[in-house]
């Protein structure tokens, strides 16, 4: 449609005023064999690009496109026209018979001329001297059905670690930059995430569709201009704001996705599970007859009954109704269950639906531009019986206007609302519905008896009301640029950002057969009294941010200079208030006014402020030598009175060697090579609130008088008078190169980041002090790493375009200074590599040959010379080694296997057997474009990572009477000696004793390669577009998480980790499953 309009415009123009002139021109040209060429230059989205340089190749003859993207030029037939524009891939066109040449320029992320958003301004990519990465948003996220930006960034930026922990919906992933720990005080190396220069606390609230560009500032020199909160780097996200002079345009995109769980835990089949549990119990209590778990009992007879059941009824559809005698029995006052259930099938959807819709309206006049985005995301959860859901609604509006010669104004408004609903569950984390779902044996009763359900997690979830969490973000930004004299501008921006979260939860009764009492005892409500309640919790906070800075640019011959000076100020205030009321009148109307019981309230109120003044000088000589100096004078309310201020300088420099004459020889291969280095330090305010005050915290004393829980306050925290800032300094060396005529780009960085004056327990004080040792600036730690980015772009003569990009990065974190006089390896100590796992070398299983026989009690007697490993086994009185137990290696040859004194100097047979830090993280993208078809694939992975978790999924017999898993049936028996697992044993919840002391054999290898995305699209051909007056239309299909390659010895997802909600070791892998997603969608521009 736009092109059509342009043609009409052209026609009108010709007619109106220029006809005569053109005629004269044409006449003249024909004389010299020259002709006038006109045309329009547009971008991939068919928006016209103003300011494109159009030159006749090999001459100085040229012009630039106007605001509507049009140009007119005189040229001889057979010559070449070169179209170049900052941030786009240049194109050449030969002049033939046509007088009209329209060109579509592809945006280039690799071009050195690309302009990159950096702190308080922009910079040409070739001029960067710090460690800065940019993200090609359209490629990284594009049409992937990822619900949030964080997931889209995984594997895209070298040095950025994005982890998800579980497949839960509506949860933002963890984003960490250059390391994971950073300081023992902060919540990890979470970079400051700035949306249009102001922090956004939860990326989940942002519609990825609204994003224009992303820049990651990785080293101190590039991030330090943002001050104390930027100690761990900065992610700068810029949202769309429209282009001046661009035509009005509507873009609609949608996506429909179906997700299905992968790696769901498989509970062992009934008899096998009970056999393992009984065997484990009998090892401990040889005379044990049966065991129970919450009302369900198991013994030898019931194992036989389960087997009989399977023979007789297996495979039949018996419905949910359970029959006494057939499916279960009461014996000796205990309930025995025989019938198996597939609890996952009852609980999980095979497929859950997600949909996304976005409408974008943008455009602009000569003076004003705007962009309006409206988005919806609806993510269906995996729960079948009472489905959970995540919804997000976004509206954003940006307007920029040039008011007059000396003033530009801008404004952005963003509204985002999310809602997560999930069934209420009576227990608090770590016990979640997922935890309980995988907690009980296969024959645990999930059916009904006489029409009533048994008490279990399915029944509870089925009858639960929905918990609802609603979050709203509203942001208003206003700002302007004063153009004072040429080269000098002053910018001011103010942002108000408010986040509100409301949580509503209604408990209420659950009815069913409460067989936990060992009786078939139907109860209208078997829940504890505490669940008869409703909760309203609210959290609200606001951040006021002001930024004010001047920029002065001056070019003098070969010298160019850019100065920035300014300040920023932030004030945060947060509140929370929670109300609980017991005694629901009607659980279906869970409102505070409709409850009759006790009322509880709680709340919090918190604030902080920062104020900083900064300055930056950029100097370049002949575009060859580059220098940047930064300084920031920083103040934070997090620091003690009289020490609020700190000065943090940084610098970086670059040298573009390919600008030197002597490098000309390399030009055919090496188009560009820059070396750069930087050093800087930033103060870290993220050390916890009020560590500089002797705080007394109020709490409920749990002593009740007259129906009131008496409040009390804690002892004041002891303080060290010398406490001050932590500082984080980074040294970075890097190189950027373009090879093969700019086709291949290489970027490499090596860095070392040191956290100095780290606030840690200063000195170990004896217990007589009566409190934790007051913290001091005592510790130091260091992160060392490197990052490599590669990209390759080529358009082949047949029109096939191919682009490849790859990232690879690695880091290690070490504690370089720490006060721990005992050097205990289980805690922090000087020289510790973070994530290290100390363990034993597994030798093999014990066999009969290791024993000389059995004593009177039947306990096996180790042959002399076989190393004693009782310390490793944990000195458990009932645990006597026998064939089928794990034999650990006596590494130091002292005739026994032990841990010495668990110290660095004396660690017995322990050694570091692995590390849980992800090493060698990589991402690889391949994109193909041919005749309207496009194909892209994105592969992401981690090269090395080990884990020694806990919980029943990892350790067979972790709690012997809970569920065992199908893969754990592969255990040692005299008949099956090449098994994977040892003889079943009750680990009693211990993940470092008996047969499962930390050791090489069972250490999980969490390395993986995952095909994150495959997308196939088709763009409507231009002639159709023109015919249907649709500038652009594309349909696509995509698959997420389609294939995964790993070497994990147990069936779990390689990305799984402890979650924030369930950090308890027992909950490992008992979490929301990861999912595989198939989707299709449409993108139309009108």
């Amino acid at each position: 449609m736009i092109k059509y309009v342009n043609q009409i415009k052209k026609l009108v123009m010709k007619r109106k005023s220029f006809t005569l002139l053109l005629f004269v021109f044409l006449l003249t040209m024909n004389v010299f064999g020259q002709k006038v060429i006109t045309g329009t230059v547009t971008d991939q989205e068919a928006k016209p690009i103003p300011g494109v340089s159009v030159q006749v190749k090999g001459t100085k003859n040229g012009t630039t496109t106007g605001n509507n993207g049009q140009y007119t030029i005189t040229i001889t037939k057979g010559k070449f026209l070169v179209f170049t524009h900052v941030g786009s891939v240049s194109q050449e066109r030969v002049v033939g018979n046509n007088t009209e040449i329209d060109v579509t320029l592809n945006a280039s992320t690799t071009s050195l001329d690309q302009v990159v958003v950096v702190g308080y301004g922009t910079q040409k990519k070739s001029d960067l001297t710090g460690a800065v990465s940019t993200v090609d948003v359209s490629k990284a996220i594009g049409t992937r059905p990822v619900p949030d930006l964080g997931r889209g960034l995984q594997g895209v930026v070298p040095g950025l670690t994005v982890t998800t922990q579980s497949g839960a919906i509506g949860k933002a992933p963890h984003i960490q930059l250059r390391g994971v720990i950073g300081s023992l005080n902060s919540g990890g190396t979470q970079p400051l995430i700035l949306l249009d220069n102001v922090e956004i606390q939860d990326l989940q609230l942002l519609d990825p569709n609204d994003i224009e560009s992303i820049t990651v500032l990785k080293d101190a020199a590039s991030a330090s201009i943002y001050g104390t909160r930027a100690a761990w780097g900065v992610i700068l996200i810029t949202t769309k704001s429209g282009k001046k002079g661009a035509p009005n345009r509507i873009t609609y995109t949608n996506n429909y996705a179906w997700s299905t769980p992968i790696s769901v835990p498989q509970i062992a089949d009934g008899p096998a599970g009970a056999e393992m549990a009984l065997a484990a119990l009998r090892r401990q209590v040889p005379s044990a007859q049966s065991y129970s778990i919450l009302g369900a009992s198991y013994d030898d007879a019931s194992i036989q009954k389960m087997k009989d059941w399977q023979t007789q009824y297996g495979g039949q559809n018996l419905g949910d109704s359970m029959v006494m005698g057939r499916d279960f029995e009461i014996r000796g006052g205990l309930l025995y269950f025989y019938r198996p259930w597939n609890v996952q099938n009852m609980y999980l959807n095979k497929y859950s639906l997600q949909q996304k819709h976005n409408i974008d309206v943008s455009g602009g006049s000569e003076k004003t531009s705007y962009n309006l985005g409206v988005g919806y995301l609806g993510e269906g959860g995996v729960l079948k019986i009472n489905p959970d859901h995540f919804n997000r609604y976004n509206i954003s509006l940006a307007v920029n206007s040039t008011v007059n010669k000396w003033l530009d104004v801008r404004s952005k408004i963003m509204l985002s609302n999310t809602a997560t609903t999930q069934p209420y569950f009576r227990l608090n984390p770590p016990i979640s519905p997922w935890y309980n779902l995988y907690r009980y044996p296969e024959t645990y009763p999930y059916g009904t008896y006489q029409g009533e359900p048994f008490r279990n997690v399915i029944t509870e979830i089925q009858q639960a009301h929905m918990d609802e969490t609603k979050t709203g973000l509203s942001r208003i930004q206003v700002g302007g640029t004063l153009k004072i004299i040429p080269g000098l501008t002053v910018d001011g921006d103010y942002t108000y950002s408010a986040t509100n979260t409301h949580f509503h939860s209604v408990g209420g009764p659950t009815s069913g057969i409460n067989f936990w009492t060992n009786k078939l005892n139907y109860q209208d409500n078997f829940q504890a009294a505490g669940t008869d309640r409703l909760i309203y919790d609210s959290y609200w906070n606001s951040i006021n941010t002001g930024k004010f800075y001047g920029t002065y640019v001056k070019n003098l011959g070969l010298h160019s200079l850019k100065l920035i000076a300014g300040g920023d100020i932030e004030y945060y205030e947060g509140y929370s208030q929670g109300s609980t009321r017991q005694g629901l009148i009607d659980p279906s109307q869970g409102e505070l006014s409709l409850a009759t019981g006790d009322q509880l309230v709680n709340g919090s109120h918190d604030h902080w402020s920062t104020l900083g003044y900064f300055g930056r000088i950029n100097y370049s000589y002949n575009e060859k030598f580059l220098l940047e100096l930064n300084g920031r004078f920083d103040g934070s309310s997090r620091f003690p009175i009289k020490q609020e201020w700190g000065f943090f300088p940084s610098m970086s420099a670059g040298y573009i060697i390919t600008r030197e004459r002597f490098m000309d020889f390399a030009k055919p291969v090496l188009s560009f090579l820059k070396f750069r280095g930087s050093y800087g330090s930033i103060g870290n305010q993220d050390v916890g609130a009020y560590r500089f005050l002797s705080i007394m915290t109020a709490y409920n004393s749990n002593w009740w008088e007259n129906g009131v829980n008496m409040r009390s306050v804690s002892s004041p925290t002891p303080l060290s008078p010398s406490l001050t800032w932590e500082s984080v300094s980074t040294v970075d060396f890097g190189a950027d190169a373009r090879i093969f005529n700019n086709k291949l780009g290489v970027t490499f960085d090596w860095y070392q980041r040191t956290t100095n004056d780290m606030i840690t327990g200063g000195v170990t004080l004896p217990s007589t002090f009566g409190a934790e040792s007051p913290v001091r600036n005592y510790g130091a730690m260091q992160t060392t790493g490197w990052e490599l980015g590669l990209n390759w772009n080529n358009t082949f003569s047949n029109g096939l375009t191919l682009n490849l990009s790859a990232t690879l990065s690695d880091f290690q974190e070490k504690l370089t200074k720490f006060s721990n006089t005992t050097m205990n390896i289980n805690g922090n100590y000087q020289g510790k590599d973070f994530g290290e796992i100390w363990g034993y070398q597994t030798d093999r299983f014990f066999t009969q040959n290791d024993f000389s026989g059995q004593d009177a009690q039947g306990n096996w007697i180790l042959k002399p010379g076989v190393p004693d490993q009782s310390k490793v086994n944990g000195n458990v009185s009932w645990f006597h080694l026998q064939p089928g137990d794990i034999k650990y290696k006596d590494v130091n040859g002292d005739g026994k296997v032990d841990f010495g004194s668990n110290t660095v100097g004396d660690h017995g047979d322990l050694s570091v057997i692995g590390n849980s830090t992800p090493r060698y993280q990589y991402g690889f993208r391949l994109g193909l474009n041919f005749k309207g078809f496009d194909l892209s694939t994105f592969i992401q992975g981690v090269g090395r990572r080990q884990l020694w978790p806990s919980g029943p999924m990892f350790i067979p017999g972790f709690q012997y009477n809970e569920a065992w898993y199908a893969n754990q049936e592969n255990y040692w028996t005299p008949q099956h000696q090449d098994a994977f697992y040892p003889t079943p044993t009750n680990q009693s919840g211990n993940n470092n004793a008996l047969n499962f002391a930390r050791q090489t054999k069972y250490l999980l290898n969490m390395a993986y390669t995952r095909v994150k995305d495959i997308t196939i699209g088709y763009r409507l051909p231009d002639k159709w577009s023109k015919e249907f007056k649709i500038p652009s239309a594309r349909i696509y299909f995509s698959g997420e998480n389609l294939f995964t390659f790993d070497n994990i010895s147990i069936p779990i997802d390689p990305e799984i980790d402890y979650t924030d909600e369930q950090p308890d070791p027992r909950s490992f892998n008992r979490v929301y499953p990861y999912q595989k997603t198939y989707s299709f969608g449409l993108q139309v521009t009108l």
Partner: protein, 553 residues
């Protein structure tokens, strides 16, 4: 922009003090704040039944004694812990802060004295607990600073020196803590002078007998026993408390506020603060009481089973509990609970129902950690026993003393067994002197009977281990030497063919053996005191100071 500049220039823009937390500098301004702080001492010291699934020493939370015969007896600890192990001075610090700050609060001298007294009472309790566990401990009566090296690495002070300070604290508290403090809270839920005195009798009975039986220091023993006797006597003569008519009700009532025996109790609130003790007596299996414990109950004629003609023997279960001190019936169910037959079995067949509230047992509040019965923290019954024992150990026990202590317990409306008499230093009932043939020969007859009374009255309340320790009688807990503590009810297999309980020697009839495999032996007297954790010894050593380990560890 101007706002920005103004804010930036404002000098205190970066001074943002905490909004919902208080600081040491600003907190100590009123008696009300002092009172609020003091509530922080209550739950840690007046644990009662604990909260949710843990806390306290009632019932099966203390089975290391001779009352219980669990399926696997808790062994004595064998290893020295690397850290922790109860060697913790956090509460000492808290109490010293409290005592120090209270003195500066603007309030009347009477109020200052009262609250200093409260602080010293809690510090006394804390040090009594540390001494109970470790013996010698470093004593601090002030808050330590990070650089008080000499104090931080102070060697252990002798036990008696510490206990003398504890005595001074209690004496100060007894003289200054308010007799009643209605502004603070209702009687029975608040520290008043009686609470101080009651705990004083407990603490100094312990220390007095410890000195007597471990150190043989007659003089110190007598000083502490006299303190215990004095404190108990103050309560007994104060007349504020009397014995109720329902022994079991002390442990199973939903509301103890009206109970005349309560000096201090802990209130539980449905869905807010709940416990698990009652559930242990309800539908779950439980560690049973030992044959030895059951046999310590007198017969209804006031004589021990070995002397009483009323004793029916134990080969018929129903008969065991007949003609006995009625507290046996209040403590135990009249029906045998056998493994393999009922789910709520007991390892010995004898099933406690002391903590069971019959009205609540089938409701939501009868199971799991949802129990709401109030917990006695300290009561007149114990004070009477403390009085009798301290007086007897002092060698001052008269018939009058017995009549106003133990015999009050025996005359409780639902107990009613003949009073204990003293005839020529010997126990007697109904005028007839007797001597229990099952008596530990090293314990004098009269003391033996006083200890029996204590065992019966205070059973399952977490006293027994401390009692055995202070008497130097941990050998009673040895399952080999004292095999009756691993025995339960006498049964015939043929009467209960379905039971999986083990009969001694696998015989067709005989005593149930609660723990057929695991044993507990008492070999090394080192376990009378707990070990000092290794890391503390090392820390001292690094400073060139020796922190002595307890003997044997």
């Amino acid at each position: 922009m101007s706002a920005f500049l103004m804010a930036g220039c404002k000098k205190d823009f970066l001074n943002q003090p905490p909004l919902d937390q208080l600081t040491d500098q600003t907190y100590w301004t009123s008696e009300n704040n002092v009172r609020t702080f003091a509530y922080g001492f209550y739950a840690p010291y007046f644990v009662g039944y604990g909260s949710s699934y843990s806390g306290g020493v009632y019932f099966s939370r203390q089975t290391l004694n001779d009352d219980f015969a669990p399926a696997a007896p808790d062994p004595f600890p064998v290893n020295v812990p690397t850290s922790g192990g109860g060697w913790d001075f956090g509460m000492v610090r808290k109490e010293n802060i409290f005592i120090d700050r209270v003195k500066k609060v603007p309030m009347s001298q009477e109020a200052i004295n009262h609250w200093v007294g409260v602080g010293r009472f809690f510090r006394g309790l804390e040090y009594a607990g540390l001494v109970n566990k470790f013996g010698d401990v470093p004593y601090y009566n002030h808050v330590l600073a990070e650089n008080d090296t000499a104090d931080l690495y102070k060697p252990r002070d002798p036990r008696t020196l510490v206990m003398d300070s504890v005595l001074a604290d209690f004496q100060y508290a007894a003289a200054n803590v308010r007799i009643s403090d209605n502004t603070t809270g209702p009687k029975g839920l608040i520290v008043n002078r009686d609470v101080v005195l009651a705990f004083m009798s407990r603490v100094f009975l312990f220390e007095g007998t410890w000195q007597k039986y471990h150190n043989g220091k007659e003089e110190k023993a007598n000083e502490y026993l006299a303190a215990a006797k004095w404190a108990a006597n103050e309560i007994m003569t104060g007349g504020s408390y009397s014995l109720g008519s329902n022994f079991r009700g002390l442990f199973s009532s939903e509301d103890l506020s009206g109970n005349p025996e309560m000096i201090l109790y802990r209130v539980y609130e449905s869905a807010m603060l709940t416990h698990t003790i009652m559930s242990y007596n309800n539908k779950s299996s439980q560690p049973g009481a030992s044959k030895n414990a059951l046999e310590s109950y007198l017969c209804s004629d006031g004589l021990p089973i070995s002397l009483s003609p009323e004793y029916n023997g134990d080969t018929v279960f129903r008969q065991v509990l007949k003609n006995r001190d009625p507290r046996i019936n209040e403590t135990f169910d009249s029906v045998i609970h056998l493994q393999g037959i009922v789910a709520n079995y007991s390892t010995t067949g004898y099933s406690a129902h002391l903590f069971l509230n019959d009205a609540l047992k089938d409701g939501l509040e009868g199971s799991l950690d949802q129990n709401v019965t109030d917990a006695p923290v300290i009561r007149l019954g114990e004070v009477l026993l403390n009085y009798a024992e301290a007086t007897a150990e002092l060698g001052q026990l008269t018939q009058e003393d017995l009549d106003r202590s133990i015999n009050l317990l025996r005359s409780r409306a639902d107990v009613k067994i003949p009073p204990l008499q003293i005839i020529g230093e010997m126990p007697a009932v109904n005028g007839i002197v007797y001597d229990d043939p099952k008596r530990d020969p090293s314990v004098p007859s009269l003391i033996w009977e006083i200890r029996r009374e204590r065992r019966v009255e205070l059973i399952f309340q977490g006293f027994r281990l401390d009692d055995l320790r202070r008497w130097g009688k941990l050998q009673y807990t040895d399952t080999e030497a004292n095999s009756d503590i691993n025995r339960g009810a006498w049964i015939k297999k043929s009467d209960y063919p379905k039971t999986t309980a083990k009969i001694e020697g696998g015989a067709a009839q005989g005593y149930i053996i609660a723990s057929p495999n695991a044993k507990r032996t008492f070999v090394d007297p080192k376990v009378y005191l707990s070990p000092i954790p290794l890391d503390q010894i090392t820390l001292y050593k690094d400073q060139g100071v020796i922190l002595n380990q307890n003997p044997g560890w």
